[in-house]
Amino acid sequence: MHEVSRIIARRKLEDRVFNLVGIACTLVGITTLGALLFNLAYDGLARIDWDFLTSYPSRHASRAGILAAWVGSLAIMCVTAATAVPLGIAAGLYLEEYGKKNWITTIIEINISNLAGVPSIIYGLMALGLFVYMLGLGQSLLAGGLTLAVLVLPIVIVATREALRTIPVHIREAAYALGATKWQVIRHHLLPYSVGGIATGVIIALSRAIGETAPLITIGALMFIALLPGSPVTDSFPFVSFEWLDSRFTVLPIQMFNWTSRPTEDFHVNAAAAGLVLMAMTLGLNAVAIFVRYRARRKIKW
């Protein structure tokens, strides 16, 4: 009897020790993020005002703003989302639902997981050769958006497949048993039920893309630009214009990089402020992802 209680006491001690180790590890991550945000805010928060958001960069730190950068980031995200989302979902659907298990699909699968791990600068080099020169897109918004789309495509594919896999076999069988074709099962069931997972993946992919710098510098994004891409809406027929796709561009992280490499302190403050805006955009996207996932989970529980 005595023996047993000693064993139990020992196990309980182990339990408590691991509990503490776990808390410590979690705190490391959270404290780092907190310190980072605090530091950025401390340096840059005071610098963020309306003028900062609506001014072009300038030689004078106090007059410089991030208008071109955040508009560029936004425009790039539009191109990236418009290409990576349909391509990624379609590829994920194919691999999960249509593709027969054979050596070709196995190779494709392995390569997709590999692609997710390729350093982003490599994508930049590939895009420089393929989009900028071979396809003749130049150093444009379109080329930049496509570059990031290729970069995050594996994330979207993997998220789509994961989301499809969480749909239980018995739900698919229920639909098939009523006489649905594969496409009907996908359209009426699989896509609606996996939309939460897919949307989460898409947003995580975009929040990765929005912070990318290296591949865009590689394809020749500008460090300094004092004009906006053309408006997508025009006042004459056909009222839409895709000229903006052809514009030169810069994005927030590049603007930050530019400012941090200046010698004077006041530009560093600008960089911190731009960093805050970038963080706000990323965390905002993540918040949307969490919300979407929460909504989807609440509606569907297998």
């Binding site: 018995h170 639909a175 098939y176 048993a177 009523l178």
Partner: protein
Amino acid sequence: MKTATNTRLIQARALSLGRPPLEGRPKPRPGESEPVGMTHAPANVPLVAPPYKAEVKSLNFFYGDFQALKNVNLLFAERQVTALIGPSGCGKSTLLRCFNRIHDLYPGTRYEGEIILHPSGANIVSKAIDPLEMRMRIGMVFQKPNPFPKSIFENIAYGLRLKGVRNRSELHGRVETALKSAAIFDEVKDRLHKSAYELSGGQQQRLCIARALATDPEILLFDEPTSALDPVATSHIEDLIRSLEEKVTIIIVTHNMSQAARVSAYTAFMYVGEIVEIGSTVHIFENPRNKLTEEYITGRFG
């Protein structure tokens, strides 16, 4: 030891009497029907009385190299409940799933032989027959209640929509009829547009039965429909199955022998992919011809 066995035998007999009146059913008379297609039963066993809804002839089924069904020959009486019983892995679910060709969803499955559907004479497992057509004509209820994460109404309407019913009033009428046939209409009539997931397990299973009934199937397949339900819900489902017998031919796979005794007119006992014995449920449970059947029914194995 011996006493225990006897007790169990007595219990099994007692349970087999659970299905009340056999009056009013076309009782198979001993010696009258021909032993059509029977492989293992002696000639004088009471077999299945006509008219037949389906006729399984020399059916073999393979998962890859593994033969799961071996030369199965069986008759299914029209508008009667036929139970398939046998130990795990005996092939009863596999046989059931041949009827709506749901095996076709998975690679490496292969059928040999015939399942003739009367009166059309179509061979369900023939390559020339479109499995989609068979699934529209033969309904299935699964082991776990598997409603779609949609509204109660949409769950029932889905099969009708697949069959091309567009008219709103027709949809509403047929959904209501199906819900009434499945004895769940009163419980859900005020919340047809609420999620099916708000229902209890037993209600969900009756909803799934309604979903399968909505398209007026020729045969209704039940794959252990109560194995995930509590006793009260189980007895509701059993009552329902017996009441459906007037409308549709029913094949039910069950692990629960007393359930087979309660709901079925005919019972087929399967073992390692073969039909060991088929006959009226009363005969199978009270007077099995085959020693294996008797051992299984008295609980000595399985």
